[in-house]
């Protein structure tokens, strides 16, 4: 490629194994995360065709979607969940893939453990049969969520077939106000560009507000890039990234570490590179966000009211809005702060890391969960849980009336026993508020960990800034 290029262009170019004249490319994949829900049919495909896993050393498996977040010593009651997890165990044993099973301290949500183990590295390509693979873009790692046929393709060939996406850049300038987090920033971006705003694109996040984020905050942002429809999210690596990765179990060591950091420092978009789409937001304008509808784009500042469908001019969007409000059981015009919740969920690959738990614990400290609210905190991994316990966060939560649980995907999608009952309303730090996402008939409001803790305490969606917490 001639001329100035983007970070995405650079990683793409450096991983091309083959390119056809029609634009179909074969891309090399450096890292592959595997979990129990989207892999059994892929391993079955390998067996049926007598193929092997080409690079088990570049493949890491973990059980996360189905695992119970309660006492695991009694095993898994649900038979289908148990079979899916046993199948992963068997497949990993048969094909020589490293696995963190549900009794391993390193077990957790795949997008939490990848970075935690140093499996995720800048400038690499990663895939996983899960749309939130976008998370790893926070390290300048080109990471795609893929389907099961593609999982099988990567297991067999360590490559994937793709055409190049468009370059999109979202810049958030300035500083975020006190009480506004990475989650609020990405929700505001999705509200701005829409749930299909990034379709066909790889989105690079830039600007002072993004650079100022911690590595974990950047993960929260990239995680939800898929909620804007993008193939992947990217943030150029910097000193914070290197600091985070240094000394992790699978990070490069010694001389190789020094060489890798030198190489990673070159991973950035050239100054005069051009993007197909550019969007700019002012960080200072962002207010803590909550969703009111059944798509992540149905989002507003907590200071607003439930919108009126009559104000929507597009008939398809008006229909969708009416459908969403009926499902959510909300009247137009109701202040968002007057929405009463039944449940609260802190967890998921979006917000279950140590900084998320610290932010929520800071709000919970010395307060009590409202009588009518049931609140659960699900750490992203066994190691996050262990660290939180060393810091005493578990005690803060328990004393405030939160339920402190074992790591996993949990109520983000309700594949295990953690789910909403029909009609129940939840304040959730997860990533999707689709109809039935957290359980059939369940109603989800997405928000940041601090906002979720505030909602649990007040019993209503709440502006965390009103609680005087910074």
């Amino acid at each position: 490629m001639n001329g100035p290029t983007t970070l995405y262009d650079k990683i793409w170019e450096s991983h091309l194994v083959d390119a056809r004249d029609d634009g179909t490319c074969l891309l090399y994949i450096d890292r592959h995360l595997v979990h129990e829900v989207t892999s059994p049919q892929a391993f079955e495909g390998l067996r049926n065709t007598k193929r092997s896993v080409r690079r088990p050393d570049l493949t890491l498996a973990v059980a996360d979607h189905n695992v119970p977040t309660s006492d695991r010593s009694i095993g898994i009651e649900d038979e289908e969940s148990r079979i899916q997890i046993e199948t992963l165990d068997q497949n990993c044993a048969d094909f020589g893939v490293e696995l963190y099973d549900m009794h391993d301290i390193r077990q957790g949500i795949c997008h939490v453990i990848g970075p935690e183990q140093g499996f995720t590295l800048p400038g690499t390509t990663m895939v996983c049969g899960d749309s939130h693979t976008a998370t790893h873009g926070a390290f300048g790692c080109l990471a795609f969520g893929i389907g099961t046929s593609e999982v099988e393709h990567v297991l067999a060939t360590q490559t994937m077939i793709q055409t190049k996406a468009k370059n999109m850049r979202v810049t958030v300038e300035g500083e975020l106000p006190v009480g506004v987090t990475a989650k609020d920033m990405i929700l505001a971006i999705i509200g701005e560009i829409g749930t299909a705003g990034g379709t066909g694109c790889v989105v690079e996040f830039a600007g002072e507000a993004v650079r100022s984020l911690s590595v974990e905050g950047r993960m929260t942002m990239c995680n939800m890039t898929i909620e804007a429809g993008a193939r992947a999210g990217l943030i150029a690596p910097d000193e914070k990234t290197f600091e985070y990765l240094k000394g992790r179990p699978k990070s490069p060591k010694g001389f190789t570490w020094e060489a890798s950091v030198e190489c990673w420092k070159t991973l950035k978009t050239d100054n005069d590179a051009s993007f197909d789409i550019e969007v700019t937001l002012q960080g200072g304008d962002i207010i803590p966000q909550v969703t009111w509808g059944t798509s992540p784009e149905d989002v507003l500042p907590i200071t607003e009211r439930v919108p009126h469908p009559a104000d929507e001019t597009d008939p398809n969007r008006r229909n969708k809005m009416e459908r969403s409000l009926e499902y959510m059981g909300l009247e137009p015009g109701l202040p968002l702060k007057e929405i009463r919740i039944d449940r609260m969920f802190i967890g998921s690959c979006t917000n279950s890391r140590i900084e998320d738990l610290r932010a929520a614990a800071q709000v919970a400290d010395g307060r009590k969960v409202a009588d009518h609210v049931s609140a659960m905190v699900v750490p992203g991994s066994g190691l996050v849980k262990e660290q939180a316990e060393q810091e005493g966060l578990d005690k803060v939560f328990i004393e405030a009336g939160f339920d402190w649980r074992e790591p996993g995907c949990s109520m983000c999608l309700g594949m295990n026993a953690d789910k909403l009952e029909p009609g129940e309303r939840s304040a959730s730090t997860s990533n999707r508020n689709f109809e039935g996402r957290q359980g059939p008939g369940g109603r989800t409001h997405l928000l940041s960990p601090a906002m979720a803790a505030a909602a649990a305490i007040k019993g209503y969606l709440t502006d965390v800034r009103d609680l005087g917490v910074d």
Partner: protein, 201 residues
């Protein structure tokens, strides 16, 4: 993979935007280690009430659309998760083609790997076909992949674009793992290069 060349069938209208993969198949039905038999869970919440009885007002439950093999859907169809269970459920139910103004990327790829043709058309063409589909079982749509043409119930012909590689695989029912494995030499050479340039990767 099932080939797709030409299809003339009843088209069911689904004029909802942002139909997500949780809507196409809720997560609780993903606890399977097979890729077959998922048709019964397709659009589960839209199709069935709390007691498991069919909802009469849902399009695929109406007599006129029981045999629909084409869906005409609202914008951004298939957004959300990467679950291939969504196209598996569509295919198992008998849907071979979806027409919309846009599709989510992962769902798009997944569908083509399962013999399902997704056709992206400008909104005004989708609106026209939606109108045709709303007329029920007497109005069918014809899709010709080789010619890249959709013929509406009134005989209007609409051309569509498609990635040539995806078209080739779908027309011939090709398994692309086999095709990629023929490039083993190139993959191996790439890995050898990588060992030198980025030994940590």
């Amino acid at each position: 993979m099932q080939k797709f060349d030409k299809l003339t069938a009843v088209a069911a209208p689904l004029p909802i935007i942002n139909v997500d993969t949780d809507m196409i198949i809720p997560a609780r039905f993903l606890k399977t280690i097979k890729r077959t038999g998922l048709g019964k869970s397709l659009f589960y919440t839209l199709r069935f009430d709390e007691n498991g009885n069919e909802r009469e007002d849902f399009v695929l439950n109406k007599t006129a659309y029981k045999n629909a093999e084409i869906l005409v859907a609202g914008d951004n169809f298939g957004c959300g998760s990467s679950r291939e269970h969504a196209p598996w459920a569509l295919e198992d139910f008998g849907i071979r083609c979806v027409i919309s103004s846009s599709f989510a990327d992962i769902f798009y790829n997944n569908s083509f790997k399962n013999g399902i043709l997704l056709i992206k058309l400008p909104q005004e063409d989708v609106d026209k076909l939606m109108e045709g589909a709303e007329r029920g079982s007497n109005s069918t749509i014809t899709v010709d992949l080789d010619a890249q043409k959709v013929t509406g119930p009134d005989g209007d012909v609409i051309e569509f674009d498609i990635d040539p590689y995806k078209k080739h695989c779908l027309l011939n029912g090709l398994d692309d793992i086999g095709l990629t494995m023929q490039k083993e030499g190139k993959i191996h050479a790439f890995e050898e290069r990588l060992k030198v340039t980025q030994p940590w990767a």
